[in-house]
Structures are given as C-alpha cells and as structure tokens.
C-alpha cells in the first residue's frame, strides 16, 4: 500500500517536472505561420476578403478554412505566394487578372464631404471639409472603399493607362506544330 503510494507519487512528480520543463523549453510564440502569411498579404486591411482585416484572413488561411484565392487586391502574385507557403493547389481560374486601377476624383462633382478620405486604409486621399479632394496615385491600392461611401459618385476607380515605363512583351503565343500525319 505504502510502496504503491510512494512510487506513484514519485512518478507523478518526475513526469510533472519533465512536462513543466518541456513547456518552458519548447514554448511557441504565437503562431509563426500566421505571421508569415501576414507578410504575404497586402496589409491594407481593406476587408474585401470578408474577414476583419489582414490578420483575420491570415488566421483563417492558417486554419485552412479560407481559400488561397481570397485576396482580390493581391491578384495572381499573392495567390501563388500563398499556395507555395501553404503547400496547396493554386486554382487561378477564378482569379481575375485585375487590370491595375487607381481611384480618381471627378472634381466637378466632388462636394468636399470628407467621407472618402476617412475610410481610405492607406491615407491616399487628401482633402478637407468643403474642399475638393484629391488622390495620391502612388499610395492608392484600388480597394474601392472610397467609391462605396462617395455620395455623388465623384470618386471612381479608373484603369491605369499603360505607359512605356510599365509596358513589357507579352508571352509568346507559340502553338508548337505537331507534324503528326493525320
């Protein structure tokens, strides 16, 4: 009786000690994967994926409950990067190769209501009450939040025209001739 009690007590104490040490030595700081996914995502917190900001999306991706194609502003590049990181199949069929867009203020109908620059996640709109607002093209991510809140449809997303600076050769459209007799 006493022997059994002591042996079990000692066993419990030793195992508890080991578990305690292991918990300290192998401590994990948060979820590494979530942070890595956050680095890939654009980080503009636009909410187009349906999650509250990029952090929420990253958690859902890490948990496997969201598809890698969830981020519209990220486009192809982000889908491919996410698929590579998570080891998942990237189905690009549903991904629209987004035409690069930028928000533009139609100055004749801007009423200076200040709604658009309050929602802009990257501070890309400058303005003040009763003043015509203006977009910093370089900072705009074309998330479309300003378009939604504008009462006069003055802010609209416009495609960015192709210039010599951004133009590059298209992919060769090679249909290799198969010289197979019919």
């Amino acid at each position: 009786m006493i022997a059994a009690l002591t042996s079990l007590t000692i066993l419990g104490a030793i195992l508890g000690l080991i578990l305690g040490i292991a918990a300290r030595v192998f401590r994990v700081e948060g979820n590494k994967l979530v942070e890595e996914i956050l680095d890939i995502l654009p980080g503009s917190q636009c909410g187009q994926c349906g999650f509250p900001g990029c952090a929420g999306a990253a958690q859902a991706l890490a948990a496997g409950s969201a598809p890698v194609t969830l981020c519209p502003p990220g486009g192809r590049a982000v889908v491919l990067a996410l698929a590579a990181k998570l080891g998942r199949e990237a189905n690009l069929a549903g991904v629209k190769e987004a035409v690069p867009m930028v928000a533009e203020v139609k100055e004749e109908i801007c009423i200076g209501c200040t709604r658009c620059f309050k929602v802009c996640p990257t501070d890309a709109i400058m303005g003040a009450a009763q003043q015509i607002h203006s977009v910093f093209r370089d900072a705009c991510t074309a998330c479309g939040k300003c378009e939604e809140v504008c009462p006069t449809e003055s802010v609209k997303l416009q495609p960015i025209p192709v210039t010599l600076h951004g133009w590059y050769w298209h992919k060769p459209n090679v249909q290799a001739q198969q010289n197979v007799p019919a």
Partner: protein, 494 residues
C-alpha cells in the same frame, strides 16, 4: 597582338556591302523635329521651354533629372511647336513625352566658346561638359556617358577600350565614321583617356572593316592609342565580348566593366565627346545607316535627332518594293516598327526596310534539344531550358539559370533550327519579373501606410481618452473644492 578566345557567337551574313561604300551625306533639315525627353537609360529629361519659345540649335530644351539622366537639346533653330505625347520608337507603339520643334530653316547654332587646348581642362571639367552635352552611349545602350566617366574615375579604371565592333548586319554608320572622321575620333578617345586617367587605350575594330582599320591606324600613329583588329563575329560589339577579346578578362555576373578596371565607349561616343569638349556643342545629330533590300539607294546619313524615320526613307529614294518589315537598329537586336512616323533618337544606329526574303521564318516547331543555342550563347547560358521554364510559367527557375545575365543579343533565336522565339520568351520574363518587383515595392509601401494610419487612429483615440480623463479629474477637483468650501462655511456659521 594576341587576342583571347571568345565564347559563343554566330556569323550572320553581314549585308554591309549595301551601304558600306556610300559616303556620309547630310540630311536636309526637315520641317518638324520630334525630340523625345527620354532617349537614354535613366530618368527622363524635364522640359524647360514653353510652346511658342524661339530656340537656337544646341539650346537646352530638357534638363537632366536625377543622378542617371541626360539632357536634350534643340537639334535646329526654330520654334517650339508642341510639348506632349508622340509615338515613340518602341516595340509597343505607345507614345512618349516629346518636344516638337518647327525648324526656321536658318539652322543657327547657339554661340559657344571653343576651347583651344582641351587637354588644359581638368578631368572634372571634361565630364561636366560631356554631361551638359547630353552624350549617351551611341552604340545603342544609351547609358549617360558622363556617369560612366565619373564611375570609372572612382574605380581607378586602367584600361580604356573603344568599341569599333559594329557587329550588327547591314549597319555601317560607325564604319563610315571611322573611315571619314578618324582624326576627330582619336582626339575624342585621347580626351576620354585623359579624363579617366587610363593607362592603356585600345580601339577594337572588326577585321571586316579594313578601310576603317587603315584610317584609324593612320590617325592613331604617334599617339598612345592602339588600334587592334578583332575577329568579325556577332556579338563582337557587345562591350563584354570586346573586353574578353582584347584583355582576356571576364566581367562577373551582375557586375560592371569598371569592376575589372575597364571602361568601354563606342567610337561614335568618342566623336561626340570631342565635339562637346572642344566646341561645347551638344549631341544634336548622329549617323544613321539606311539600308535593306527594299531601299532604293541605301546610305549613311547625318541626321538631326528627332527626324522621322519616313523622312530618311524618302531621302534614300523611297522603297523599291513594299517592305515586309521595318526595323529600327540592326536586324539582330533592333525593334520592329509598326509605322515609319517615329523619331530617330540618340541610340538609333540604323533604319532598315527588309523584303520578305530577308526576314526569318516565323512558324516555330517543338524544341529538339539540339543545344545549338547553348553553343551560340555568348554569355554561356542555357537558352532552351530557360525558355522551357518560362513557357511553363516558372520565371523563377529561369532566373536561377541566369536569365538576368541574358543580353537579348538574339544569337539563340538566330541559330534555332525550330525557329523558337527564345529571346521573346526572355524579354517577356524579364518584363514580368520587373512588374512583380514593382508590385512587391508597392505592397511594402502600402503596408507601411496602413500601419501608420492605424497607429495614428490609435494615438488620436488615446489622446481623446486622456483629455477626457483630465477634464473629469479637473471637474471632480472643482466639485470637491466647492463642497469643502461649503462645509467650511457651514462650520463657520455654526
């Protein structure tokens, strides 16, 4: 002199005989000139004139912007007719910011002071003059020459190589320049040598230009300049190939020629340097070869920058028969033109109108892995594998195989028995990678902006809360003081 063995290269038919024996003719001044603001590698020039301004030949009309940039000058005297977009000499057919000048027919130069002895100037003064003259690499790379001079001085360049390779078929403008203006070129070469303090000076000329070799050797007699014949092959005019042939040194991948103590300039650049340093005259014209099977009278013309390509064709007697393809530059690396109404720029060495018989086949067949392209590649890459990866959408794998070292010389496409557009694949992949790089930079800046915004919002809220707390504390203190005063008053009355 012993030459060193070269890697790769091809031997296309030179077809230089079409224009090689035609002496340089000066093109009559056209009525309108279209001067693009970006004719060089780097940032575009900034226009400093207004529509309606009167300008003289050689007057600055676009100032250089930033470290790597070059100014542009009025190629003739006249009136600024427009500043805006105009079709550029570019495969995309897109427009570029351009200054249009209506010539007044006087062609009057801006007054400039001639320097009696340019060798009395300091090295700094020479490179300042070269920078002010808007001189860029005239071999086609169009890198601002003054930047190269300064970089070479910093890196203690010991060897100066002047490139008389001109390996592109059809093109003979450098050949003619060396035959007719050898003494001026040699003076330019000696000025560059003096400006960078190089010890050795070599002029490498392909052996298929015996007249140019003879003229340059005669002009270089009793100077420190050595004129050396190099084998005729393509791409002999690639600066790194020329360095390898003359010195045996190889420029490391991702490196510059200055890293191994060598500076390379084109013969036409040396000529322009002499004009700029001695006469203070900016680069406002260049030699252009007009050639090809469709041209009635091929030739070499001295053309003001900004002349339309069609003007050159017309001056050379127009077309014998309708050209199947128009090319700006040489047939190996030049660009196909959709229209001849684009302006000649500083880097345009030739314009070609080719017949159907002169252009290659276009129907590609599958790769048979013959590795002809590997043997032809002067850089030592594996074009067939790189193209296969790019075709499969894996540009990163092509980069691992050295895509970034590809110079797009076209040797691989030229030798490919299956007519696979290899260089097209590489140009596409390079463009795609640059685009990805841009997207990545944008994402990083977006992240910073979004973080700054959320921090600011948090700060504003915190400050509001603090202000509210302060107000509350102040109010409570006031109430307490009032209570105490009331209590005190009560005790006093009691």
């Amino acid at each position: 002199m012993k030459l060193f063995k070269l890697r790769g290269g091809v031997h296309p038919e030179s077809r230089k005989e079409l224009a090689a024996d035609r002496a340089i003719r000066v093109l009559p001044m056209p009525e309108y000139l279209y001067v693009p603001l970006l004719q060089h590698v780097g940032a575009p020039a900034q226009p400093i004139v207004n529509v309606g301004d009167k300008v003289l030949k050689g007057q600055l009309i676009g100032a250089s912007q930033g470290v790597i940039s070059a100014p542009v000058h009025a190629p003739t005297s006249g009136i600024i007719a427009a500043i805006g977009e105009y079709p550029a000499a570019h495969p995309s057919g897109l427009t570029a910011p351009t200054i249009t000048i209506k010539a007044d027919g006087e062609d009057r130069w801006l007054e400039t002071a001639e320097v009696e002895n340019p060798f009395s100037l300091t090295a700094d003064e020479i490179s300042t003059r070269v920078a002010a003259a808007g001189i860029v690499g005239l071999g086609g790379a169009t890198f601002p020459s003054a930047v190269k001079l300064n970089l070479s001085r910093k890196n203690n360049v010991r060897t100066l190589i002047i490139n008389g390779g001109e390996c592109e078929p059809y093109i003979t403008c450098d050949d003619r320049l060396m035959r007719e203006r050898a003494a001026e070129i040699i003076e330019g070469v000696r000025l560059i040598r003096y400006a960078v303090g190089a010890e050795d000076v070599m002029v490498g000329i392909e052996e298929n230009k015996p007249a140019a070799l003879a003229a340059m050797s005669a002009a270089a007699k009793n100077t420190e300049v050595k004129v050396i014949a190099v084998p005729a092959m393509y791409p002999m005019g690639w600066d790194k190939q020329m360095i390898k042939a003359l010195t045996g040194l190889e420029v490391p991948a991702d490196g510059r020629t200055a890293d191994i103590g060598v500076l390379v300039h084109n013969v036409a650049t040396a000529y322009a340097v002499r004009d700029a340093v001695r006469f203070g005259r900016p680069l406002v014209s260049r030699l252009v070869t007009v050639s090809g099977g469709s041209i009635a009278e091929p030739g070499n013309l001295e053309v003001p920058i900004g002349t339309l390509v069609e003007t050159l064709f017309d001056f050379c007697g127009g077309f014998r028969d309708k050209p199947a393809r128009m090319v700006l530059g040489g047939p190996m690396m030049g660009i196909q033109l959709a229209t001849a109404a684009v302006p000649i720029v500083k880097g345009s060495s030739g314009v070609l109108a080719l017949t159907a018989g002169e252009i290659g086949k276009v129907d590609p067949s599958p790769c048979i892995r013959c590795s002809s392209c590997v043997r032809a590649c002067p850089v030592g890459l594996l074009p067939l594998d790189m193209a296969a990866h790019i075709r499969a959408g894996d540009s990163a794998a092509a980069v691992a195989l050295g895509l970034k070292d590809c110079i797009a010389c076209g040797c691989c496409s030229f030798v490919c028995p299956s007519h696979i557009p290899l260089v097209h694949y590489f140009n596409f992949a390079k463009g795609e990678l640059m685009e990805q790089e841009r997207v990545k930079l944008k994402q990083e800046s977006t992240k910073k902006l979004a973080e700054a915004r959320s921090e600011r919002i948090a700060r504003i809220e915190r400050e509001r809360a603090e202000a509210a707390a302060r107000r509350k504390a102040a109010r409570e203190a006031k109430e307490r003081a009032a209570k105490e005063a009331a209590a005190k008053a009560a005790t006093e009355t009691a």
